[in-house]
Amino acid sequence: MKIVACIKHSLDVSEIKVDEETEDIKLAGVPKSLGEIDENVLEAAVSLQETYGGEVHGLSYGSPDAKDAFRDALAMGLEDVTLVEAAADEQNDPAVTALVLAEAIKTMGDVDLVICGELSDDGLTYQVPPRLAERLDLPQLSFVRQIEIDDGWAVAERELESGSQKVRAQLPALITVTQETNTPRRPTLMEAMQAKKKPVHLWDVAEDVGLTRDDLESRAYLERTDSKGIVIHRKRVKMEGSDKRALANQLVDRLIEEGVLEGEV
């Protein structure tokens, strides 16, 4: 079974701050790494490979500085990672990402299973996996809790707001995992050492994937016209003290003053 795990070098969103005066989103210096959800993707891919045999290849579309971050991915048990290089100035529409990934997967050939995360850590749109499934004309098993392969069929439990479904589809197929799907393994030191010898292939969008700049630009469906951070205006009154009853009384006093509670003053 040939499995492609789609992964992303993602911003650590918890490190993004907003300038309270200018409302600018401060992205400079925000660390990037393999996304947390991508660890669930890789765990799903590698554990399926361990159970049913075959090989797992990582695939990503992004800037070349991602190369080192994929060492961690390789240590989890991938054969290799293919990084399709995005131009640095590109304003990426998920429709562009889906096109590039789809063409790259076609180039890789004979893929049985494509695995994606439900939402990337920083993009969070959930557009790429269904768009990719459409482009590759694959059935999609999304938001899976559990996944197994049974005689050429992918069988999964999936979770929706309204309930859960047990679904199946014949391979080849695309699945998306959530952070509840599994607990990612921690590679051993030995695996981390061995990962240094595994290849990260850099692919050029035009030469290796066969897409022109026009192909990409024609799918940049959104044009960003404004961007600003949301400044949270809260009072930020810190309350502490060793006497917890006194502290509780102080808090209740404050909430009565605020007019939200009432009772004995």
Partner: protein, 322 residues
Amino acid sequence: MSAQQSKILVYAEDERLMRQLLTKARQAQTGNVGLALVGDEIEQADFGSWGADTVYMVQNSLLGSFNPETYADALTSVVEQAEPDLVLIGGTKQGLELSSRVAERLNMGIASWCVDFEIDAERKQITAKCMIYSGIGQETYRLKTRPAMATVDSDVFEQQSFPDIQAERIEVDADIHDPRLEVLEEKGKMAAGERLIDAQVIVDVGQGFEEKEDLALAEELAQLLGGQVSCTRPIASERDWLPEWIGLSGAQLSPQLCFTIGVSGAIQHMIGIRDSDLIVAVNKDEHAGVHLQADYGVVADLYEFLPALIEVMKERSIRLAE
């Protein structure tokens, strides 16, 4: 219809969200508001009073359980027939999956996590304001495709009734293919957030709670004020202590008063409570990010502070202000 009008089509799987989107579409005052209904047996309602001018119905035996393939076939047919300028989709998991599939088929751009939009009918320009980085910021986009799509989360817009509108019904003859994804079994559950959405007081719990039994402290505090207990994603999804979580991938609440207890303050969760009128955080770590996102940050061990707070509130007959 004059050339200066723009049409909006709405699709959402649940009535509440559907009505919120219809209301917003009407308020945009651009022209015809359409509603897409997809299913094997569509229940009739007074869709005009919900805000729809035209109801496009696709009824087919292949549209029983939600299947992204058959539903995408149905919605694609509706979009092709209705020819809207903008399609508003309820941003549930089903909606997100369905919208992207339809958009890919019809070469449409999608504004994800849309919180507002403007249609300049004369210039045929659509701009959408969207949440980015789980709500740290907002970006505005010009949508370059026609039709274009926007996905909208629950409770971003408020619903109204429009008693004077009579909806026209159109049966759409959709080309629905046998799906490759088979739904073998289905289990229902209560829709996320329903019990929480109207609560005026929320007691929000995080991983600072060590045992499930300890939630009794939060329950008691909530009960004193006629409120409800909500939680972070790991409390529901990993520990399975409560049926649903709030935040980016769950409900977003706006109570009068929110106690957030033993919660670190990650944005993916805080977006679920940040529209509260007043936030009280309880966390023993004075450097926890949650304190910066609260009106009152109580630096204390919840196991010491909550019993004291409950005792004091009982003694002083504290209740939610009228």
